[in-house]
């Protein structure tokens, strides 16, 4: 297992948080567009893409704030990893099915699904794991006490 300097982990944590906050911005402003992007993956049944499009951007915003500000970092990094795993699955199935669709990732307008997006999300998944698995809790506001579980 690679050992990274604790302050490097803090930097990774803050960068990951900024990425999540940035990615949530357009989706919060226009959930209709995000819902259509989700629908294009042809994986969500019964029109639930609208509900998902209303909740995921806020989830991204809150975990982003948590990672940047050092609030509930364990929970935020765990959800971040879970989201990344989910996004990778979505993009992977769309790529395998040959869909020529917009990613809807929220980082850059018009980005299409493909192996490069999978790789990008794998990097974010790795970053989430590094933050979650950190040894020292530096620059964290809440909770200050060691984990009870």
């Amino acid at each position: 297992m690679i050992k990274l300097h604790p302050w490097l982990i803090v930097l990774i944590r803050i960068l990951l948080g900024i990425i999540f906050i940035y990615a949530s911005y357009d989706k919060i402003l226009d959930p209709g567009k995000f819902a259509r992007d989700i629908a294009n993956y042809h994986i969500i049944p019964m029109g639930f893409e609208n509900l998902i499009a209303l909740i995921i951007p806020w989830l991204e915003l809150f975990i982003g704030i948590g990672l940047v500000a050092g609030l509930m970092v364990d929970g935020a990094s765990m959800i971040s990893g879970g989201l990344m795993a989910l996004f990778i699955l979505f993009i992977f199935q769309a790529t395998l099915r040959g869909f020529n669709i917009e990613c809807g990732c929220g980082l850059k307008e018009g980005e299409m699904v493909g192996w490069n997006k999978i790789l990008e999300n794998l990097v974010f998944l790795g970053a989430s794991y590094l933050v979650w698995h950190r040894q020292q809790k530096l620059f964290e506001l809440f909770p200050k006490t060691p984990l009870s579980d």
Binding site: I28, A35, A39, G47, W58, E102, S148
Partner: protein, 160 residues
């Protein structure tokens, strides 16, 4: 606070804020997505609508509407247009310029058809919603798009 409690709290707050924000915003979306209406009758296409609508058409209807001279708009990215386009279709990556073109050619009331590469591309629907925001009343999304048109051996136009 354990990790489990943190996860629960973050998810609960996100769900609540997400749902409440949709209740108060002016451009709220429905809780569950409704499928786009499919048009089966050519006469429905030619009606003047009082409310803006985006509706779906299949290959047969697209053929009929093309024969009737309806405007076709290609929503595919520029790099795909060198493969050819449906005859007389227009395309522009800049939605503002595209809107000006459509307004000049047919105005806001008359219907027009948008297509992209195939059943699953999604960009025709996306463009339809963007153009609806510009004030276009009667937009048709051609499901199947370029793939079904060329698979049916229909005429295409290749630009240099």
């Amino acid at each position: 606070m354990s990790t489990k409690q943190q996860v629960k709290l973050i998810i609960t707050v996100s769900v609540l804020v997400g749902l409440i924000s949709n209740l108060v915003r002016s451009d709220a979306i429905s809780w569950v997505a409704e499928p786009i209406k499919v048009v089966k009758n050519v006469n429905d296409v030619l009606l003047t609508l009082s409310e803006p609508e985006i509706r779906e058409i299949d290959l047969g209807m697209a053929k009929s509407l093309h024969k009737k001279g309806l405007l076709f708009v290609d929503a595919r990215a520029e790099e795909y247009l060198s493969d050819g386009m449906i005859p007389d279709a227009i395309a522009n990556d800049d939605v503002g310029l595209l809107s000006e073109q459509i307004e000049y050619l047919i105005g806001y009331e008359k219907g027009f058809v948008i297509y992209c590469s195939d059943d699953d591309c999604g960009s025709s629907e996306e463009l339809a919603y963007e153009l609806q925001d510009f004030g276009y009343m009667n937009i048709f999304v051609f499901k199947g798009g370029w793939k079904s048109w060329t698979n049916a051996g229909l005429e295409i136009e290749i630009h240099d």
